[in-house]
């Protein structure tokens, strides 16, 4: 085996420039694969994190009926106390109780449908961090009476400015149409189009007063301390709050799960394409190497080297070829990921379009360590697949004919 490996290794360097070209293509292919995986992963993480952080949080609790029918009357029994109790759980970083109504927002010039969140700003900002996304005005810090915060895009649609008056119209607990006038205290810009275009945040006390809800809470949003503890927390909450609907972000926003699996499928297709390209590159090189050494292989067969050994010699040679390129490609990919993981990729040139879909403008590619192992295994499999045909051709030769090949 040692001699076979020696021959295979030396054969790799027999045609140095050709080997370097194929090694180069393996390096570039693997680097591109790692980069694309990291890029897509970063894209996915950015999107999902954005949705969790600024929109849906990790876990939400509702009264089950409220999810089916957004009737303002379906409040969580003793919701405020439940929120206070949950805030004491060390696994939960932040808790935000919300009351919710669907209604209309009207300015003197325009009107539109909105989802109205009644929030406690101090609690809400620790969950959704919307205070950091304020582009104009402030996050419920002004002394305005009945302050309201809406998306900048909605403000533009309504053609309102800071301190402008808007009117919210919605149903109260008795299903009567009620309305309240609010002053625009702040405008925010998030990665969620729904928030930017059709959501309004007011103080819970204001919403509840107008809707006649007292301390009524429709939704409790939880931001967990450590995402890994989410599953156990969910189980605990479900058993403790059996009458309520406790959902993770995956259930609240199934489109995110769909997005995850779609991205995953796309990545597999991408990996497949790159691997197939590599396989053909390897086949081409190794086939040339076999045809070039036809007489030599014929001689080996003539003197008594069996077909299995010849087959293995070509396979080992191909693996060596890939083993030179593979680690270099992986190392380059790793360094690129490390650097981009710190620096990020500035996509601001495209961010207007991306923002529409909920992405942030700086993207941080990310790859799990296990992916590098998968890529390394992929390289070996690619090399093996690429070696099969040239090795098959090698063992098919007729030694008498091969020995007379010029």
């Amino acid at each position: 085996m040692k001699m076979m490996a020696t021959i295979a290794w030396r054969n790799v360097w027999r045609s140095r420039s050709r080997s370097l070209v194929v090694i180069g293509s393996i390096v570039v292919g693997i680097w591109a694969l790692i980069f694309m995986l990291g890029f897509m992963n970063g894209f996915m993480i950015s999107y999902i994190n954005g949705a969790i952080k600024h929109e849906i949080s990790h876990i939400q609790i509702h009264k089950a009926e409220f999810k089916k029918d957004n009737n303002i009357g379906f409040v969580i029994p003793d919701g405020m106390n439940l929120a206070r109790t949950l805030a004491l759980d060390s696994r939960i970083q932040a808790v935000s109780p919300r009351s919710i109504a669907s209604g209309m927002i009207s300015s003197p010039r325009k009107s539109g449908g909105v989802k109205i969140y009644g929030i406690i700003p101090e609690s809400e900002r620790s969950v959704t961090r919307h205070d950091s996304l304020i582009t104009e005005g402030s996050y419920f810090k002004s002394n305005l009476k009945n302050p309201i915060v809406i998306g900048k895009e909605l403000a533009n649609t309504l053609k309102v400015k800071l301190n402008s008056k808007v009117v919210l119209t919605f149903q109260d607990r008795e299903n009567n149409l009620v309305a309240g006038a609010f002053r625009l205290a702040g405008m925010l810009e998030t990665t969620a189009p729904m928030i930017n275009k059709a959501t309004a945040y007011i103080r819970m006390e204001d919403l509840n007063r107008i809707a006649g809800l007292q301390e009524g809470v429709h939704e409790i949003a939880l931001f967990v301390e450590n995402p890994e503890s989410e599953t156990t927390l969910l189980t605990d909450l479900r058993s403790a709050q059996s009458g309520l609907l406790v959902e993770s972000w995956r259930e609240i926003a199934p489109e995110l799960e769909l997005f995850l699996s779609m991205t995953d499928s796309f990545l597999w297709v991408l990996i497949g394409i790159i691997m197939i390209a590599l396989i053909f590159g390897i086949i081409n090189t190794m086939l040339m190497a076999v045809l070039e050494r036809y007489r030599e292989l014929g001689m080996l067969m003539a003197i008594g080297m069996n077909k299995w050994r010849i087959f293995m010699m070509i396979v080992i040679e191909t693996i060596f070829l890939s083993l030179v390129g593979g680690p270099v490609g992986i190392l380059l990919g790793l360094l690129t990921m490390y650097w981009l993981g710190i620096e990020g990729i500035d996509l601001s040139a495209y961010s207007e379009g991306l923002r529409e879909y909920g992405y942030s403008s700086i993207l941080y590619p990310y790859i799990e360590n296990s992916t590098y192992i998968h890529v390394a295994a992929g390289v070996i499999i690619t090399a093996l697949l690429g070696a099969l045909y040239p090795a098959y051709k090698a063992v098919q030769l007729n030694p008498t004919e091969a020995l007379h090949t010029v």
Binding site: I7, R10, R14, L300, G304, T400, L403
Partner: protein, 235 residues
């Protein structure tokens, strides 16, 4: 399988014929060839181009099958062996020397000699010692760690001969071994092979055009149009 002189017959062909069907008109390369080679012979198979020398050598070497007739090598009908068995048979029984040396270019002279013993799964120390001993015999020990590209044609062919010898075969088949060598190298190589034949009793069978080889041979089998025209044994 003993001759009158008590020497073993290593090769025995009976009525072998070879017809190549590839061309539009079948080509009869060998016709009714009966030949016995006894161990220790130093035989040259001669004849003009197309006379069937290489075909006969390929059949004797188990690289090709006759269309009809039987070929026994070391008492075994090799035409009945499966391909894998035939490769193994060649490894343990036949040494090959080719016109174009055909050394493995990425291995050194010593490694080239060791390679065939490696295929035979001989212990490393044994093959190392034998390779160096054989290199010493052909005065190439100082070139042991040199690759074929750094050796002259004559030196390469000497390495090819000891590679064939290294596997301790029953006989060595040499296809035009001196064709690519200058006179001095050819003479040197022939002397070396004659010495091995006389001292170690190794059987050599050459196909050749080269008069120098023919002059050295103790038996000359002449082929013409695929048939044995003459078989001359010299004292």
């Amino acid at each position: 399988m003993e001759t009158t002189t008590d020497k073993k017959i290593v090769i025995e062909t009976r009525d072998i014929a070879k017809v190549y069907q590839d061309a539009k008109i079948p080509v009869r390369a060998l016709k009714d060839v009966d030949l016995e080679i006894v161990e220790g012979e130093f035989t040259a198979i001669v004849g003009p181009s197309g006379s069937g020398k290489t075909t006969l050598l390929n059949i004797i070497g188990g690289l090709d099958n006759p269309t009809s007739g039987t070929i026994k090598v070391a008492g075994k009908d090799i035409s009945k062996l499966k391909e894998s068995e035939r490769i193994d048979f060649r490894l343990h029984n036949i040494g090959f020397v080719f016109q174009q040396y055909n050394l493995i270019p990425v291995l050194t002279a010593r490694e080239n000699v060791e390679f065939i013993m490696l295929l035979q799964k001989k212990p490393v120390h044994e093959m190392r010692a034998r390779a160096l001993h054989l290199l010493e015999e052909v005065e190439l020990k100082h070139k042991a760690n040199v690759r074929p590209s750094e050796l002259s044609g004559g030196q390469q062919q000497r390495v090819a001969v000891i590679r064939a010898l290294a596997s301790q075969p029953k006989f060595i088949l040499a296809d035009e071994p001196t064709a690519n060598l200058d006179s001095a190298s050819a003479a040197n190589l022939l002397d070396m092979m004659a010495r091995m034949n006389q001292e170690e009793g190794m059987t050599f069978i050459f196909s050749t055009h080269d008069q120098r080889v023919i002059d050295k041979a103790r038996r000359v089998v002449t082929l013409e149009d695929g048939m044995i025209k003459s078989d001359e044994v010299r004292s």
